[in-house]
């Protein structure tokens, strides 16, 4: 079946090879509270003001200029999304109407779950802690989608092997 907007099947394995290390790196970054100085380099910044430094003079103005920053967190987040997109939106080996249907329902499901969780967070998480919610929320739709889609697919193939 020809479903548009899906990558070829080989991207799936490739995606896992990026997603798994990125996930592990992400978990590690969480554990050290994103405080890293591993990959400091010069990058072009569209917007990069640091409000705290800006208050003390022009040194804090980082818009549309080259700046030197640590890119570890951005790099891990970037790789996580690339890997996640490849895993989530590559064709299955035998892509058919049931799988297309499952993909669509999983997407709907993940958007629902994501926003219900976000609503709960809006109600009960306050002040600086809400920043954490925003960090995780960038990735949760993709994570929930991948888990739900693969879980149902796995459950179906599992039942299939049990029968004759």
């Amino acid at each position: 079946m020809n479903t548009p907007l899906l990558l070829p099947n080989r991207f799936k394995t490739f995606g896992w090879c990026i997603l798994i290390p990125a996930t592990l790196a992400g978990i590690y970054l969480i554990s050290i509270n994103f405080q890293t100085t591993w990959i400091t380099t010069t990058v072009f910044s569209f917007f990069g003001d640091d409000e705290i430094i800006k208050a003390s003079g022009p040194a804090g103005n980082h818009n549309f200029t080259f700046i030197t920053v640590d890119i570890t967190n951005s790099l891990v987040g970037f790789l996580f999304i690339i890997g996640g997109l490849m895993v989530g939106f590559s064709k299955e080996k035998s892509e058919d109407e049931f799988i297309a249907n499952l993909r669509l329902s999983s997407l709907l499901w993940s958007v629902w779950v994501n926003y219900v969780l976000l609503l709960i967070a809006f109600l009960f998480i306050w002040n600086f802690d809400f920043l954490n919610v925003m960090v995780y929320n960038m990735f949760t739709i993709l994570i929930i989608f991948i888990i739900r889609f693969n879980f149902i697919l796995y459950k179906n193939s599992k039942m299939a092997t049990d029968e004759k």
Binding site: E92, S94, D96, E97, F98, L153, N156, S157, K164
Partner: protein
């Protein structure tokens, strides 16, 4: 909608995998249909009927509430 794919498959002594290959879908799809978790498209229903050499109505029947 209910179906008797499983029965028809047993008559021909065919595995889910073999049927899946014949109509070029995944084995999960056959499994989901047999478990009544997925209603196939008309194209797929016609393909299945063709494999079993029976009219579609003999394999797929409407249920109350459909």
């Amino acid at each position: 909608m209910k179906n008797n794919i499983r029965v028809e498959r047993a008559i021909l002594n065919m595995t889910q995998e073999e049927l899946a290959n014949k109509i070029s879908v995944s084995r999960q799809t056959i499994n989901a249909m047999e478990a009544n978790k997925y209603v196939p498209s008309t194209v797929l229903a016609l393909k299945i009927a063709k494999v079993f050499k029976k009219p579609v109505e003999e394999i797929f029947q409407l249920e109350k509430g459909d």
